[in-house]
Symmetry: C2
Subunit: 321 residues, 2 copies
């Protein structure tokens, strides 16, 4: 997940002069936000500072972040006319600021750690567009899937094109790995995922895999269909904290790399308790190649940065042995 954020005092300082969207759209500042956690935490990779909904804005929808309430997208896309109205996206023009950030970060990193780019997966983007914002139940989205499958496919196809070309542009601008975020996949049944989502994700992942960089496929709550989720493609699959890492690996087979699986809430515990969580994950990974130590979901705003640094150090200590 994004490493920069409100839990870092230096990020909050940046946000004092720029709104979240202004920060995303200002390459100089976004590059600084990208580099802050690399300096502070000593992580092994930088993660591009951007937002998964920027391409949705480029498609012609309005986008706003109301403080503490999550994103708002409007007008909601719920019929054929709304889907037809969506603009084609040329990443080099419409999302140039992200690519400019990518180039800036690559230069400033001077090869010290690699840079990971990312995009939202078509289903997760579609859910924001159809619901108009975050939603626990995704009622409108599921209604469109089941009641108007042809329209749903049209929307998903448009999003697959945008997502694939956006990730291609990021790699061209210097991203050395990319991540596809399907954050809401876990709200679906296995059957819905297979019928209405996976074919499109698979197309994007296949297109991106041809770019020659590692591809990470992120989801949460996907335990009920982890094998099917991983089967969509990519080199690495995310596993949240609900399933122990060794069990996840047993289900997926050894050909797949795994990213995970610390519960972000555990970063708020005492150092002693946190340490035992980290050791548990590392023991289950058993030093096997193909494990990227990571959180199962995003950093919580109240996370103490020193705890994150301590986790990075523990992982490095273990890896060195």
């Amino acid at each position: 997940m994004r490493q920069a954020g409100r839990y870092l005092p230096e990020y909050r300082r940046l946000r004092r002069r720029l709104s979240f969207l202004e920060l995303c759209r200002t390459p100089e500042a976004a590059a600084e936000a990208t580099l802050q956690p690399v300096v502070r935490l000593g992580v092994d990779a930088a993660i591009l500072f951007a937002d998964i909904l920027l391409p949705v804005q480029a498609m012609g929808l309005r986008l706003a972040y109301d403080e503490g309430k999550g994103p708002r997208v409007w007008p909601p896309v719920r019929d054929a006319k709304a889907v037809a109205r969506l603009r084609r996206v040329e990443p080099e023009d419409d999302l140039r600021f992200v690519l400019e950030t990518t180039r800036l970060v690559r230069r400033r990193l001077e090869g010290k750690v690699p840079l990971i780019g990312f995009a939202g997966a078509p289903f997760t983007l579609a859910s924001y567009m159809v619901e108009g914002g975050p939603s626990k139940d995704l009622a409108f989205t599921k209604a469109m899937m089941h009641s108007e499958p042809a329209l749903w496919r049209r929307l998903m196809t448009r999003l697959a094109e945008v997502t694939a070309s956006y990730l291609r542009a990021q790699v061209k601008a210097g991203a050395q790995a990319v991540q596809l975020f399907d954050s809401w996949a876990g709200t679906l049944s296995k059957e819905e995922y297979m019928r209405f989502v996976r074919p499109t994700s698979a197309r994007v992942l296949a297109a991106v895999s041809r770019l020659g960089v590692p591809v990470i496929h992120f989801g949460t709550g996907t335990t009920p269909f982890l094998k099917e989720f991983a089967g969509a493609g990519g080199d690495v699959v995310s596993v949240d904290w609900r399933l122990p890492l060794d069990e996840a690996w047993a289900r997926l087979g050894r050909g797949k790399a795994i990213q995970g699986n610390l519960d972000p809430a555990h970063l708020l515990m005492t150092r002693q308790a946190l340490k035992s969580r980290v050791w548990d994950i590392l023991k289950r990974a058993a030093g096997r190649p193909g494990h990227i130590f990571n959180l199962g979901h995003g950093m919580l705003p109240q996370t103490p940065p020193d705890n994150v640094r301590a986790v990075v150090d523990m992982v490095h200590d273990w890896s060195a042995r």
Copy 2:
């Protein structure tokens, strides 16, 4: 889940003159809310109109429902002093209004359908008390589990006593089945569920099982540890929509009855699409005894009541054949 609610115009009429908490605390009105869906939908059981947080209020915490924002509980219970301050609860005194509602409903039902009572499970109640309201990450709750396990156990033990005596009182007042709601269990890892939650749930379920009525154990998002969740006890286990019913049953074995598993969002689809969802569930249950057709979670406020009635009729048609 609770059948009454904002999706019913007759419920909204009741709410015009009473706040949600006033409605819960006024037996005459709560009995009416309990009976409304029985009349309108033709369901096979009545579900007591109440709220899982009423015992938390009886334990001395303040409770408020801000329109559209979910419950608020304060002061939050985060240290030994706060746990020690919790009041002992005598259901016959402190929650008499719920028991009075139970007795009223039983009389008015005249034996036509059975009445199901319910309570929140200790973990779900604890999470509201520790967080101060609903929370996606349960950061304070998980911190207490891992960092102060003895304090956590003390809180859980207090809640187990309250929950067991509250359900006992409901059965004495006339409830013919009871349901234990562990709505947030799915936010935990399997290991956390086993160490910090299941022992207490098991105690409550065992105590309640001695009352001679069927006991339903409800959770959502529990697919990663469904067998362990079901192993806590009770006669029936809830399965949300994420796992097909036949797969769930294969995992659990035939000795356990199952409740589920329509996605509440599917009640918003066209009648044709909804019909195919319902048939799919019924086919997977294959007419086996031990299946209670139900939603995987609560009714959404925008649900058309006629769609719910149509589902009840479809299930009855199938069952009659």
